[in-house]
């Protein structure tokens, strides 16, 4: 009766062959791709990851578009590639405009990468209207001059030479290396400076790091109150006249004249050359500080050289006591252009290789112990059948390993700590499929069926349960993958992957193997250690060997 129900499912040889073919294909792919090791995530081998979120400026929500984010990703990728660190990655996760950009760079580049990718790199050239010392003026007056007046305080004394050094010979040949640390106070407010701006300027304390974060988003067509990068001066600046997009090239060069520091050499395109010539020729005859042109990067003044004569050659220099690395990073950032959006650093994570190795070991150790415990338990409880689950888990394990190798090469799958956790959890889910099958099988034996027919009827019932239960597990991992960020995705991916592997193994290995095993004397005869002994299971009718052969002859027919 049972064998009538399930005539087709019993072709163990063919299923095992399918599995073997899958193994050979995967193995061959891995060899062809020369994928010899699993790609490990940064949390397992050390490195820095930065997650950037588009900053939604109030009233400018429409700016954050898919195209803008795509553009930002490609710009950031160019910047990161300019570092030359192998296996750096820039990806965007999420959907539509609700996306994050994730930058992962292995190794010890930590701080450099954070600065490099975070800046919007909006470069602007603005005429200086008012400038002065960084701190809040002790006696603010309506005039902007107070702050600008040199005060022989200790603080000032310290900062003045530094400013002199930073803002030296800039705008090309004509600009002479004149210190511009302090400037004579303008007698009245220059054109375009409103009292509100003066109030804002007076209140700004550039000695506080919090006011020197920059971050871009400044309006090109409006005046700007800004600090300089080192926190020694503050400025009121006119609207931008030359933009970063008008730069055709940038390179880091050693400044031969100005004391051997590094600087960035800029070349303008046609528009840029004209615009820069215009602004320099206009301000050259004005009184200080209005004869200075500030180079503003992401809302912070990098330098503000005084213009001695109009510059029409179409090039400029940015100096600012840069190190070689800083100047080449800045040149790269400028070369690849400004980001179309401002970004907030959602998360910055820096993991040393030591911690990475520790986490990897702990993950592998936990997995090993967990697997061992599961194997011991199933051997103790299911005896001979336990060997089947040991074999199935071993096959599942090697299939998972091969897949992570192949997927690492083909779709860039990286194994993270959360991913390892997903793998370990999946041991339980995979083993459960065997348990469902074994329990059904034993139930059928209890019903008094012969072992061979019990395998088939038990399988038909177990199959349904396994399919439905694994579907739920798959739905969970797919949804987790699409909705979650960061580590959760790695977890969802491995969980989904192993659920699929589980289905494959149960269908092409566990079931066929059990079918084959019950044909042997040890299992088929219900040996006490086989885990299928009818006596031990308390079957109602003791299974006689003869009856089981009779059943199977029907089956095989």
């Amino acid at each position: 009766m049972a064998s009538n129900k399930t005539p087709t499912t019993s072709r163990p040889g063919r299923s095992l062959l399918v599995l073997l073919l899958i193994f050979i294909t995967l193995g061959a792919t891995a060899v062809l791709q020369s994928a010899s090791s699993v790609r490990l995530g940064l949390d397992l081998r050390g490195g820095t990851s930065v997650t950037l979120q588009p900053r939604i400026v109030p009233g400018q929500k429409g700016q954050v578009t898919t195209a803008a984010i795509d553009q930002a990703v490609s710009i950031i990728r160019q910047r990161v590639n300019s570092l030359g660190v192998a296996e750096s990655e820039v990806t965007s996760t999420g959907t539509g405009t609700n996306r994050q950009i994730v930058i992962s760079v292995p190794g010890d580049t930590g701080r450099r990468i954070v600065e490099l990718v975070g800046q919007t790199a909006e470069l602007r050239f603005r005429q200086v209207l008012v400038s002065g010392a960084a701190g809040i003026a002790p006696a603010p007056t309506a005039s902007a001059s107070t702050a600008a007046t040199p005060k022989p305080t200790a603080k000032k004394g310290k900062s003045a030479p530094r400013t002199a050094a930073t803002a030296t010979p800039t705008a090309t040949p004509a600009a002479t290396p004149t210190p511009v640390a302090t400037t004579p106070a303008p007698t009245q407010l220059p054109a375009g400076v409103t009292p509100e701006m003066v109030a804002k300027y007076n209140a700004l304390d550039c000695t506080k790091a919090i006011n020197r974060q920059g971050g871009g988003g400044d309006e090109a067509n409006a005046p700007l109150v800004a600090c300089d990068r080192s926190g020694t001066s503050k400025f009121i600046l006119a609207k931008a006249e030359v933009l970063g997009s008008q730069i055709s090239g940038a390179s880091a060069v050693l400044d031969q004249q100005g004391g051997g520091g590094w600087m960035v050499l800029l070349n303008f395109n046609g528009d840029g050359t004209t615009a820069f010539a215009n602004v320099t020729s206009r301000v050259v005859s004005l009184p200080a500080p209005q004869n200075e042109v500030a180079i503003v990067l992401d809302g912070l003044v990098v330098s503000a050289p005084r213009i001695i004569s109009a510059i029409t050659a179409g090039s400029a220099q940015i100096t600012g006591s840069f190190t070689q690395i800083e100047s080449s990073d800045l040149a790269n950032v400028l070369k690849y252009g400004a980001l179309p959006l401002a970004f907030d650093r959602g998360e910055v994570q820096q993991i040393s290789p030591t911690l990475g190795a520790d986490q990897l070991h702990a993950g592998l150790l936990a997995g090993g112990i967990g697997l061992l415990l599961v194997l011991l338990y199933s051997l103790l409880y299911y005896r001979g059948l336990g060997l089947v689950s040991v074999g199935s888990l071993a096959i599942a394990g090697s299939l998972t390993y091969l897949l992570t190798l192949v997927l690492g090469k083909s779709i860039g799958f990286t194994l993270t700590l959360a991913g390892i956790a997903g793998l370990i959890v999946s041991i339980g889910i995979t083993a459960d499929s065997f348990i469902v099958f074994f329990e059904r099988l034993r139930d059928e034996v209890r019903e008094g069926k012969s072992l061979r027919s019990a395998v088939e009827t038990g399988w038909v019932r177990a199959r349904h349960t396994i399919l439905v239960a694994d579907s739920v597990s798959l739905i969970a991992s797919v949804l987790l993958y699409f909705f979650a960020v960061g580590g959760v995705r790695g977890f969802a991916f491995t969980l989904g992957l192993t659920t699929l592997i589980d289905l494959l193994i149960v269908f092409t290995f566990t079931k066929p193997l059990v079918t084959l095993l019950v044909r042997t004397k040890f299992y088929g005869g219900g040996h006490p250690l086989s885990g299928l002994s009818p006596d031990r299971l308390g079957a109602k009718i003791p299974v006689v060997r003869a009856s089981s052969t009779a059943q199977s002859s029907v089956q095989e027919a």
């Binding site: 009766m1 949390d43 999420g94 010890d108 701080r111 954070v114 975070g118 020197r212 974060q213 907030d344 650093r345 959602g346 998360e347 910055v348 994570q349 820096q350 040393s352 911690l355 986490q359 702990a362 936990a366 967990g370 415990l373 599961v374 338990y377 199933s378 409880y381 005896r383 700590l417 959360a418 956790a421 370990i424 959890v425 339980g428 459960d432 348990i435 469902v436 329990e439 034993r442 139930d443 019903e447 008094g448 349960t465 239960a469 579907s471 739920v472 597990s473 739905i475 969970a476 987790l480 699409f482 909705f483 979650a484 960061g486 580590g487 959760v488 977890f491 299971l537 308390g538 109602k540």
Partner: protein, 364 residues
């Protein structure tokens, strides 16, 4: 293990039957109490959120002889005013958590720590999280949660029936509420890894429930045609039949999770592995409980309201007398009933055995 084998067979045939469904009010009350405690502790204490959710930074220095005092001294030297929690992990590691700080401040702290402990700055493990980041991942997790529940209700309604879908979802929500409650009560840190754990519990709890429901469905198929047992009795029998599987599955799922928990907590101290496995550990336990004590009784309650099932219950009641009823409701062990004495047809499925036992008892 042979004893469990025979226990399994007794459970299967209904010789040993634990009354999960008949005493459902007791389980409902118990779960209700747990949920109440969870709600109160959530309301009073709230969840202890990690820096990933509220923003902040964390620094870990690994070096022999590190101390909390030295770390606090280094932090104080930066002059940054923020809440600081420093703790040692194992013997050679100190972990410092701060409130929301800027990137510049984070660099200053790294420098100060590197100087204080005489280590290379790049060996300090750092995590800086912006204040809005947590809200963002929380929203995503919630969207994921609702999408998941919706899809699963649809799927289970198609694969099984809507009432099973509802019962399964109620059980899942029950699990998450209690797990979150335990987190609030004990004050464990909630990190993204914990959220992964919670979400996995959803999947796992459903998985467990699905296996039990599959058996319930098998046992209750064509039930209304006869008058042998009520829906509740058939469902209860299914729970008992899958009890061994539930226990085995839970144990096997808990073994690797426990090993992550102990290895993770022991070797690494705080971190992804510990947070994840702790949530899983708590959740797996409640998940197993709810599939037996909440989901199936609820399913039975829902079905017993149907007119067809009420009619069936009346027929069953009319057929049996007071003595028969006790065999279903009591948690007694009917070990005395000899299995071999019963006649048996080869194709019989589990539930048919139970009425046979009843008829036998009636004769007594």
């Amino acid at each position: 293990m042979s004893s469990s084998g025979s226990l399994g067979s007794k459970l299967y045939r209904g010789e040993v039957s634990i009354d999960f469904i008949g005493k459902r009010r007791r389980w409902y009350a118990f779960s209700g109490l747990l949920i109440l405690i969870s709600a109160i502790s959530l309301g009073v204490q709230g969840l202890h959120l990690g820096i990933e959710f509220k923003g902040g930074a964390s620094f870990s220095v690994k070096k022999a002889g590190v101390s909390v005092a030295a770390a606090e001294k280094a932090l104080a030297s930066t002059g940054i005013k923020t809440e600081v929690i420093a703790q040692t992990v194992g013997s050679d590691k100190v972990r410092i958590q701060t409130g929301v700080i800027t990137n510049l401040q984070s660099e200053a702290i790294q420098d100060a720590l590197a100087k204080e402990f005489q280590v290379n700055r790049d060996t300090i493990d750092t995590q800086v999280v912006g204040p809005s980041w947590g809200a963002d991942i929380t929203h995503k997790a919630l969207y994921g949660l609702f999408a998941f529940l919706f899809v699963v209700v649809l799927f289970l309604s198609l694969a099984f029936e809507p009432k099973m879908a509802i019962s399964a979802i109620v059980a899942v929500i029950h699990d998450v509420l209690i797990t979150v409650g335990i987190y609030a009560l004990v004050g464990f840190d909630v990190t993204p890894a914990t959220v992964i754990g919670f979400l996995t519990i959803l999947g796992y709890s459903l998985y467990d429930t699905v296996v039990v429901f599959d058996k319930v469905r098998e046992n209750t198929r064509g039930l209304t045609g006869g008058s042998r047992m009520t829906y509740s009795q058939a469902a209860n029998h299914a729970v008992n039949q899958t009890l061994v599987r539930s226990i085995n599955t839970s144990l096997i799922a808990l073994l690797p999770v426990a090993s992550i928990l102990f290895v993770g907590a022991g070797l690494l101290g705080a971190g992804t592995l510990k947070d994840l496995s702790l949530a899983l550990f708590v959740g797996l336990a409640t998940g197993t409980y709810s599939s037996i004590f909440v989901a199936t009784p609820l399913l039975a309650s829902l079905h017993e309201r149907e007119p067809a099932m009420q009619a069936l219950a009346r027929r069953v009641a009319a057929k049996g007398n007071a003595t028969t009823k006790s065999s279903v409701e009591g948690a007694e062990v009917f070990a005395g009933v000899s299995a071999a004495a019963e006649s048996h047809s080869a194709g019989a499925t589990g539930p048919r055995n139970q009425p046979k036992r009843k008829t036998k008892k009636k004769k007594r």
